[in-house]
Amino acid sequence: MAGLNKVVETYDQALAGLTDDMTLMVGGFGLCGIPENLIIKMQEMGVKGLTCISNNAGVDDFGLGLLLQKKQIARIYASYVGENALFEKQMLSGELDVILTPQGTLAEKIRAGGAGIPAFFTATGYGTPIAEGKETREIDGRHYVLEPSLTADFALVKAWKADTMGNLVYRNTAMNFNPMMATAGKITVVEVEEIVPAGTLDPNHIHTPGIYVNRVIKGSFEKRIEQRTTREA
C-alpha cells in the first residue's frame, strides 16, 4: 500500500492528469520560489489553454515565460507582470486574458479557496477599477469589496524540504505564495530540493502539513536571480 507516502520519481508522474484548459496555481514571487522544473515539464507536455494563477508571469525565457513562448496560457491572474515582453505582446494582441489582482487580495483569495471560505470583504481596491462590477458594502464606516475565493485543478508548489509524507518546509522569501497554493489545488504537486524521512522534520516547524500535498518530487534548481544587488564586503 502507498499509504501516506507522497514521493514520485518522475516529472511524468508528478504532472499526470494535467490536461488542456485546466486551471493551475503556480507558486513564486518574481523568479524566487518558483517550481521551475514543473514549468519546464509543462512546456514539454505542450498543454494548452491554461488558466494560470501566479503573482507574476516570469521573464521571457524562464518561469511562466516558457509557457508564454508556446502560447500555452489563455488567461492569467497576477498582481504584477512588468518584466516580460512576450507577455506584453500577447496581452495587447488579445491572445492572453489578464486579470490583474492586488497582491494581498490574490494571496487571500487563494488562502480562502483552500480554507473553504467562498468569499470575503476587503478594503483593498475600493474606489478603483478593481472594484468595478463587484459587490461593495459599508461596514462600520469603511467601504469594502467582496472578493470570491480561488481554487485550481493543480497547484504547483516549490518548497525547500519535504518529508516522505508531504510535510513541507520553505526557505526564506522563497515561501511567498507557495503555502496558500498548496492548500487550494485539487491536486497539489510539490518540487523540493531535498526529501527526508517522515519523522525527521520538527512537527512544530512544518509550514505545510502533508494533508494538503498529493505528490512530492525532488528537483535540481537554477534559481535565477532577477536583480543581483550587492554591497562591498
Partner: protein, 218 residues
C-alpha cells in the same frame, strides 16, 4: 532649489519613530532606509514575506531565496522573521504596519492616489500597492510636485485610475510637505530656497497657505 531624491528621502526619514514597523516602496521610498537616525530602531517590512529587511548582501552572501519586494537580493536584520504572502498582507491589511511610504503619479485634495496605471501605456499591475494604501493609517506619498513639462501632479481630482480612495494624508514632494484635510492641501513646509509662490504655481489642487511656512530641514 527643488530637493534631490536623497533630500526627499532624508525629510521623510524625519517622520520615523523609534520602534516603527515600516514598509518602503520602490524608488525614493527605498532610499529612506539610508537616513534612519542613529540609535533609532526601525524594522522594515517587505511584502513578499520578510519583516526585518537588512542591507544588500556582499557577493558571498547573495542568496536567490532572499529578495525584497523589488526583487533585489537582500539580507535579514537582527530579529527578522519570514512568512507567506497571505500572512504578509494580513499584517498590511490589518493595519499593523506603522508607516507606509510610496510613490505616486497623482494625488488629490480628497486623499485619492493614482500610482499604478496610465491608460494607453502598458499596464504592469498594482503589485501590493492597493493593499498598502488600503491597510495603512499612516501613509506618506513621495513624488515630484510637477512633471517635466511643469504640469502639477497635486490635483483637485486625480485623472488616472485610482490605487486607493480617500486614504492619503501626507505628501512629501521635491518642493513641499503637504497635509491633506478638509478637501484641500495644507502647505506645512517648503524646500529651502523654494518660494511659496513657486509651490502655489505648481499646485493645481486647492492649497491652503498658513501665515507662516516652515522651511524643511534637510
Amino acid at each position: 532649489m527643488a530637493l534631490s531624491r536623497e533630500q526627499i528621502a532624508s525629510r521623510i526619514a524625519q517622520e520615523l519613530q523609534d520602534g516603527f514597523y515600516v514598509n518602503l516602496g520602490i524608488g525614493i521610498p527605498t532610499l529612506v532606509a539610508n537616513y534612519i537616525p542613529d540609535g533609532m530602531e526601525v524594522m522594515l517590512q517587505s511584502e513578499n514575506g520578510l519583516l526585518g529587511m537588512g542591507q544588500f548582501p556582499t557577493e558571498d552572501e547573495v542568496d536567490a531565496d532572499l529578495i525584497n519586494a523589488g526583487k533585489q537580493t537582500v539580507t535579514m536584520a537582527t530579529g527578522a522573521s519570514l512568512f507567506s504572502s497571505a500572512e504578509s498582507f494580513a499584517m498590511i491589511r490589518g493595519g499593523h504596519v506603522d508607516l507606509t511610504v510610496l510613490g505616486a503619479f497623482e494625488v488629490d485634495v480628497s486623499g485619492n492616489i493614482a500610482s499604478w496605471m496610465i491608460p494607453g501605456k502598458l499596464i504592469k499591475g498594482m503589485g501590493g500597492a492597493m493593499d498598502l494604501v488600503a491597510g495603512a493609517d499612516n501613509i506618506i506619498v513621495t513624488m515630484m510636485h510637477a512633471d517635466k513639462k511643469g504640469n502639477s501632479k497635486i490635483l483637485d481630482a486625480c485623472t488616472l485610475p485610482l490605487t486607493g480612495a480617500q486614504c492619503i494624508k501626507k505628501v512629501v514632494t521635491d518642493l513641499a510637505v503637504l497635509e491633506i484635510k478638509d478637501g484641500a492641501f495644507h502647505l506645512l513646509e517648503r524646500a529651502p530656497d523654494v518660494s511659496v509662490e513657486e509651490i502655489i504655481e505648481k499646485t493645481a489642487g486647492k492649497l491652503i497657505i498658513p501665515d507662516e511656512v516652515k522651511v524643511m530641514n534637510v
